[in-house]
């Protein structure tokens, strides 16, 4: 079987996928970039639409953070156990920075790609990356703050891609 198939487009069009990327924390940045780069490697045409808190994932300089606050599912391996950070601890200034540092160390030690690496692969794989113009205006970002190779667009631009795609995800 090949990626050429009965996609929503013409009979010979490759399969396509869109992802709306709405979250920009270190943990939430992974699913869209992992799925996007993998789909591209499998011959799928991929569009990623970055909006709201997902938009800063297109900034040239990334400094992604993760917070244990309000996240009881975040269990960090520690001394052979899995520890949940009580909210009261998560509220202490500096705890997010420590948790982020720990997460990044874990990521590197387990052979997991960094978001910077995955994003570079996304660019190399010609993934169609669209920055939400409205969010750019709302949060006062300029195109020159962003990496090259991206396009600006809005909901209609996304919809045009989504309507002809086989898979549409909201993350």
């Amino acid at each position: 079987m090949s990626p050429q198939g009965d996609g929503a487009g013409s009979a010979n069009a490759p399969k396509s996928m869109t992802i709306i990327v709405t979250k920009g924390s270190l943990d939430w940045a992974y699913p869209p970039f992992i799925l996007g780069t993998t789909a591209a490697a499998m011959g799928v045409d991929v569009t990623m639409f970055f909006t709201f808190y997902g938009l800063p994932l297109l900034l040239k300089k990334l400094d992604l953070q993760v917070t244990p606050l309000g996240n009881p599912a975040m269990k960090m391996p520690m001394a052979g156990m899995h520890m949940v950070m009580p909210n009261i601890v998560g509220m202490i200034p500096g705890v997010d920075a420590i948790a982020s540092k720990m997460m990044k160390n874990m990521i590197a030690s387990k052979g997991v790609a960094s978001i910077e690496e995955l994003r570079e692969m996304a660019v190399d794989a010609d993934i169609n990356m669209i920055a939400c113009q409205m969010t750019m205006d709302l949060f006062e970002y300029k195109l020159e703050d962003m990496i090259g190779g991206i396009k600006l667009g809005g909901a209609a631009t996304y919809m045009e891609n989504a309507l002809k795609s086989d898979i549409n995800l909201y993350i």
Partner: protein
């Protein structure tokens, strides 16, 4: 003996697949690529990758903690 070897040991999902695709892209149709990986998820993932892309899984094996896949590149 495969035409090329890709060492993806120590890499985690999705890196082995993405590196594999990158190497396959520059190979000629019919050429074979041997991939070595330690990610246990790669067993299911490489099969899925081959079924979806039309590249052929010629050989598959395991030596201790190292998984070995030999893939024949499909015609473009």
């Amino acid at each position: 003996m495969a035409d090329r070897v890709l060492d993806a040991k120590g890499l985690n999902c999705p890196l082995p697949i993405i590196r594999t695709k990158k190497v396959l892209k520059d190979m000629t149709a019919g050429a074979t690529l041997e991939v070595l990986a330690t990610d246990p998820g790669s067993v299911a993932d490489f099969s899925a990758f081959c079924r979806t892309t039309g590249n052929e899984m010629v050989e598959q094996g395991q030596d201790g903690t190292v998984y070995r896949f030999v893939i024949r590149r499909a015609a473009a």
